[in-house]
């Protein structure tokens, strides 16, 4: 295909000196090759597509592990007090759902993670705006936030229990604190990276400061905010696990700690499974949000 396209170019250029003709032809070939390569890339992506639909091959190893695990349990090689069998776990999960124990605890856990995350997002955005929009704000807010960042939030558990007791407050506070940091860090970075030319354009259009924030600053920093949010969601589950295992009378973590007392590894594994699913689903949700909110971005990295 390349040859066929570049031949007429050579014919046209024949009256010109040979050197120029060669150069022109080379330039055209290069120009033609670029879209051709893009097309090739697209074809390759197309070929890769079926693998993204997860072929059965990808599950073989997992299924094998499960089968060995089940066989070992059935043969009595692994005691249920060390590790419950996959079938036992499935049965327990079903029972826990039917009895309402799992849904109830799940709801409590979701409430804690959700409210903690909501506080984290609100406070994180507010602080990032203060730090990102003014020099004074940056000096006042950024230094303490950078210090807080280096502090492992989980180490605050004893202090939070002393301050807030053992109710819901310390758990939500722990989630909020841990999840706020990535929101703040990414958004304030995003705000500082806004193209000053766009801010200038806003001034020539006579936009008010609020309008500049609403139309230029926040949407411009949204990709960074969403990156931060993905980290935050992950961290909020981590915080929740710890908070619920240290002291709680409800929640998935409590359910697992309770099971520990009765050597119920099946319940513990159901809890782990729930946490894994929560992490997976929340990450998926943020990614879908990302795809919707950032739909203005050209697909497949074809940006100008």
């Amino acid at each position: 295909m390349l040859d066929r396209v570049s031949t007429p170019a050579t014919v046209i250029d024949r009256p010109v000196s040979r050197q120029t003709a060669a150069r022109t032809a080379a330039a055209r070939t290069a120009a033609i090759r670029a879209p051709a390569m893009r097309a090739a890339g697209k074809a390759a992506a197309g070929a890769r597509k079926p693998s993204r639909a997860l072929p059965l091959r990808r599950f073989w190893s997992t299924l094998l592990i499960l089968a060995v695990w089940q066989a070992a349990s059935s043969a009595g090689l692994v005691s249920p007090q060390t590790l419950a069998s996959p079938l036992r776990i499935a049965q327990t999960a079903f029972d826990l759902i039917r009895s309402g124990v799992l849904p109830q605890n799940l709801l409590v856990s979701l409430g804690r993670a959700g409210s903690g995350l909501a506080i984290a997002i609100a406070v994180g955005i507010a602080l990032a705006l203060i730090a990102g929009l003014s020099r004074i704000g940056e000096d006042v807010v950024d230094a303490p936030m950078q210090m807080l960042r280096t502090l492992p939030a989980l180490a605050l558990v004893p202090l939070f229990i002393l301050w807030f007791g053992i109710g819901e407050t310390p758990k939500i506070a722990l989630v909020a604190l841990g999840a706020m940091i990535p929101v703040y860090l990414n958004l304030s970075k995003g705000i500082r990276a806004i193209d000053p030319k766009l801010l200038e354009m806003g001034r020539t259009l006579g936009l008010s400061r609020m309008a500049v924030i609403r139309h230029i600053v926040l949407p411009g920093a949204l990709p960074d905010l969403l990156t931060g949010l993905r980290f935050s969601v992950g961290i909020s589950w981590l915080m929740l696990v710890v908070a619920e295992q240290v002291n709680a009378s409800t929640g998935i973590g409590h359910m697992m700690m309770d099971a520990q007392d009765f050597l119920r590894t099946d319940i513990i594994l159901v809890g782990l499974l729930v946490y894994a699913l929560l992490g997976l689903l929340s990450d998926l949700a943020v990614r879908m949000l990302e795809r919707h909110l950032l739909r203005w971005r050209p697909v497949a990295g074809g940006a100008r």
């Binding site: 030319k197 001034r203 020539t204």
Partner: protein
């Protein structure tokens, strides 16, 4: 002044470098002035001062209330659709309709719902022009708006700008370093050199401009004012 521009003794220095040095310039209402000059001659600083982006440190500047700028890069917000970009900062229930009308004027009625990153360079620049015109400016400033466009697109843009200028009757200040562009569009060509006006060339040829003897003479004058007279 209502519709025109008056600049008197405008000066501006960055460090020890005087970018504008006692500059005087008048633009009558509805007049099309093409501002030429080599890089660093102060063109952009003058435009930024008139746009209110740079402060007036020396001298006096008077511009109309309604000023609009079209930049070299279109400076569209990539996260807003074309219509919303044009509407930015407008209020009133008819803002959307006005934006669409302005986009129709620049020949982009079919692209109102497009995302800016899917536009070609010429289309993006036309959106920038629509965004300026929808504000019904008395002074329209164009900062090398066609510099990054290909030659054919540029010619089409010249015709478009000329048509819109005649229709809206606003004063235009076009910053460019393309001598032919200045000769094609301007009522007057002004050459800036080291922060002062070096040459003013009234252009009284009939519109649309043809590449005749007058054009060639104007070209010679401007190129000499830009110190590239011998090169042509």
């Amino acid at each position: 002044m209502s519709g025109g521009v008056l600049v008197e003794g405008l000066g501006r220095a960055f460090g020890g470098n005087r970018v504008l040095d006692g500059l005087d310039l008048q633009i009558r209402p509805g007049e099309f002035v093409a501002l030429l000059g080599r890089s660093g001659s102060g063109k952009t600083t003058l435009l930024r001062t008139l746009a209110g982006l740079d402060p007036v440190e020396e001298g006096a500047v008077s511009v109309p209330d309604q000023v609009a700028v079209v930049f070299q890069e279109s400076r569209l917000l990539p996260w807003k659709r074309v219509r919303d970009n044009v509407m930015l900062g407008l209020d009133g229930a008819d803002a959307g309709a006005r934006a669409e009308a302005a986009l129709g004027e620049v020949g982009l009625a079919h692209r109102v719902d497009a995302w800016p990153l899917t536009l070609s360079g010429g289309e993006a620049q036309r959106v920038g022009i629509a965004r300026a015109l929808v504000r019904a400016p008395h002074l329209l400033m164009l900062d090398e708006p066609f510099a990054s466009l290909d030659a054919l697109t540029r010619l089409r843009m010249h015709a478009l700008v000329e048509r819109l200028w005649r229709k809206h009757g606003c004063a235009v200040l076009l910053v460019t370093h393309d001598v032919d562009e200045a000769l094609t569009l301007g009522d007057r060509a002004v050459v800036l050199d080291r922060g002062r006006i070096r040459t003013v060339l009234p252009l009284e040829m009939e519109r649309p401009r043809r590449h005749d003897a007058d054009f060639a003479r104007g070209r010679q004058v401007l190129l000499e004012a830009l110190d590239v007279g011998e090169a042509v």
